[in-house]
């Protein structure tokens, strides 16, 4: 364990050897001001507008909008999707990372590329692929119909596309870390007689826990915010298969602007919390 930590610290020290200098000349300040002004305009204003519009008719109206049954149901469905999807993709991420960082085998490089495919596929295309697998026009459609199983336009369809869209998040965080840490610790544990599970829980997991949590936080943010893929497969049935992002669009199209912004503010809040957690987890990981 000592060596892995030392290596990580050494790598960290090396990478942070460059410290920013104090801006000395006016041209430095000009660049800093330009970066800050553009960030405020393009990133700060959109987030500010959400909370301003959500609260512009007062706190009472805000909460009554969120307490609308359809919006409450959308919040519940969004949380439920995250509860189902995030743990499954954490397990998948751990499996992939263990496989590609602890073993060499033919096709390993190809597998690492393939795992990232969902990141390159448009959310709309992701939704469409599921439609053509499980939908009535799809490959498995006739088979599912004979057994009277309906997947498209139901809650399980939302779970499935969310699994697709967010499957690489955890693996992506774990692979570089576990690669850098090497497998000496685990080999030592096995040599000393520990079982595979003991080795994983007592040696590997403590080393990767912050990166694992970090991946889970990013995965969660994407699951809760996914719009395109879910809108294809959910059927957007009010009070049944509407997640929060879909509910925002529905309220907006109904000209209920305050309601749309109230719903959006809950997701924006999750985004802000995600960034705060990300910040602390990055520092934890750096030691």
């Amino acid at each position: 364990m000592q060596t892995a930590t030392d290596l990580a610290t050494a790598a960290k020290m090396q990478s942070s050897r460059r410290h920013g200098q104090r801006p000395g000349r006016w041209s430095h300040w000009l660049l800093i001001l330009a970066a800050m002004a553009l960030s405020a305009l393009f990133i700060g204003v959109p987030i500010a507008v959400i909370f301003t519009y959500a609260l512009r008719e007062g706190v009472a109206v805000y909460f009554s909008q969120i307490a609308q049954p359809a919006t409450l149901h959308a919040i519940w469905l969004t949380v439920l999707t995250a509860i189902v999807v995030v743990p499954i993709n954490m397990i998948f991420g751990i499996c992939v990372a263990w496989l590609v960082t602890r073993f060499r085998f033919p096709g390993r490089g190809l597998l690492i590329t393939f795992i990232e495919i969902p990141f390159s596929v448009s959310p709309i295309v992701a939704g469409v692929t599921y439609l053509f697998l499980y939908g009535s026009q799809g490959l498995l459609g006739p088979l599912l119909e004979t057994y009277d199983i309906k997947i498209m336009f139901t809650v399980p369809a939302i779970f499935l596309v969310s699994l697709f869209v967010t499957s690489p998040f955890v693996a992506r965080e774990l692979i570089p870390l576990m690669q850098a840490q090497g497998s000496e610790d685990e080999e030592a544990a096995i040599t000393l007689g520990a079982s595979g599970l003991q080795t994983f829980f007592y040696v590997t997991l403590p080393n990767i826990r912050w990166a694992l949590l970090y991946g889970a936080v990013l995965c969660n943010a994407r699951v809760m915010g996914e719009f395109g893929a879910v809108s294809v497969v959910s059927g957007a049935i009010r009070g049944q298969t509407n997640t929060l992002p879909l509910q925002i669009e529905l309220l907006f199209n109904d000209y209920n602007v305050t309601g749309a912004f109230a719903a959006a503010s809950t997701l924006a809040l999750i985004a802000v919390v995600t960034l705060v957690l990300k910040y602390f987890l990055e520092r934890k990981q750096a030691g």
Binding site: R18, F42, I115, Q137, F200, F227
Partner: protein
């Protein structure tokens, strides 16, 4: 399979067959099968029908609009991203950490929320729109709005690819150049720029690829008019709504091929970047 069972070459760690099995099974069910199902649907169309659909006037218009807006968004993000990376790495100033954290907001914020915020800001009565529309600059429900939506959702790519490489540009190389009489501009153009260039290009291509497939932010702001503000992903969605499944499959296949092409380009650039870093 005999290749896989030689555990002697594999070291002493357990779990190879377990993790290989879980990974392949999960990947097949969740990722590969759906993709193959869609491709199968497209192939079943036959080449003539497929070509008729993807070369229709309305489809071609969406390619032009999508690619044009994505190029514009990527150009802006290239410059903005470079500026952000430079400022975050090179200077120590109050608010630097906050700025560093805020850069990730476009990835953390759901696209539907971003779209709602952007359309509100840029509409006639919005915070920006009320000043821009009298000047004749129309963004909400116009092609420029699509570019703005793409820009917002892909801001972090260039920053996050250039930042670590810029951190690694060795100080002593810069000092050597300075002691040999190089000006600031020469140091940037001859020492720093060549070092960060591959990462910069990789970031741009990631940003472009993401913009090509963007949907959530765009539907809110684009106005969704055929031939004017309709992007590829939106046309797929409209075809689905009309139960025109063959057309949806064909255009989605075009998007998938484009995505794989961009994945290949980005991977090649990153491989080049690694070789480049090794050489220096």
């Amino acid at each position: 399979m005999s290749l896989f069972s030689k555990s002697s070459q594999r070291g002493i760690l357990p779990g190879f067959s377990l993790t290989l099995g879980v990974t392949l099974l999960y990947f097949t069910i969740i990722v590969a099968l759906p993709l193959l199902a869609m491709l199968y649907k497209s192939v079943n169309l036959g080449w003539t029908d497929f070509w008729t659909i993807i070369s229709s006037e309305r489809a071609v218009a969406t390619y032009k609009i999508t690619i044009g807006a994505a190029l514009l968004a990527t150009l802006f993000n290239a410059l903005f991203g470079l500026l952000l990376a430079w400022v975050l790495v090179r200077y120590e100033f109050p608010g630097r950490r906050l700025l560093d954290a805020v850069v990730d907001l476009p990835f953390a914020l759901p696209t539907a929320v971003a779209g709602l915020a952007l359309v509100t800001v840029f509409s006639v009565n919005g915070w920006f729109g009320r000043y821009l529309e009298p000047l004749g600059v129309k963004i909400a429900y116009a092609p420029l709005g699509i570019a703005i939506a793409m820009m917002f959702t892909s801001i972090p790519f260039v920053v996050r690819t250039v930042q670590p490489v810029l951190e690694d540009v060795a100080l002593d190389v810069e000092e050597a150049a300075r002691s040999l009489g190089a000006t600031n501009w020469q140091i940037f153009a001859r020492v720093i720029w060549p070092a960060i260039f591959p990462a910069f290009i990789a970031g741009c291509s990631l940003s472009f690829a993401r913009s090509l497939g963007e949907f959530g932010a765009i539907v809110f702001i684009s106005g969704n008019l055929p031939f004017q503000t309709e992007v590829m992903s939106l046309l797929v969605f409209i075809r689905l709504d009309e139960y025109d499944y063959p057309a949806a499959a064909a255009i989605a296949t075009v998007m998938l091929v484009l995505a794989f092409l961009m994945l290949f380009v980005t991977n090649s650039i990153q491989a080049w970047q690694l070789r480049y870093a090794d050489r220096n």
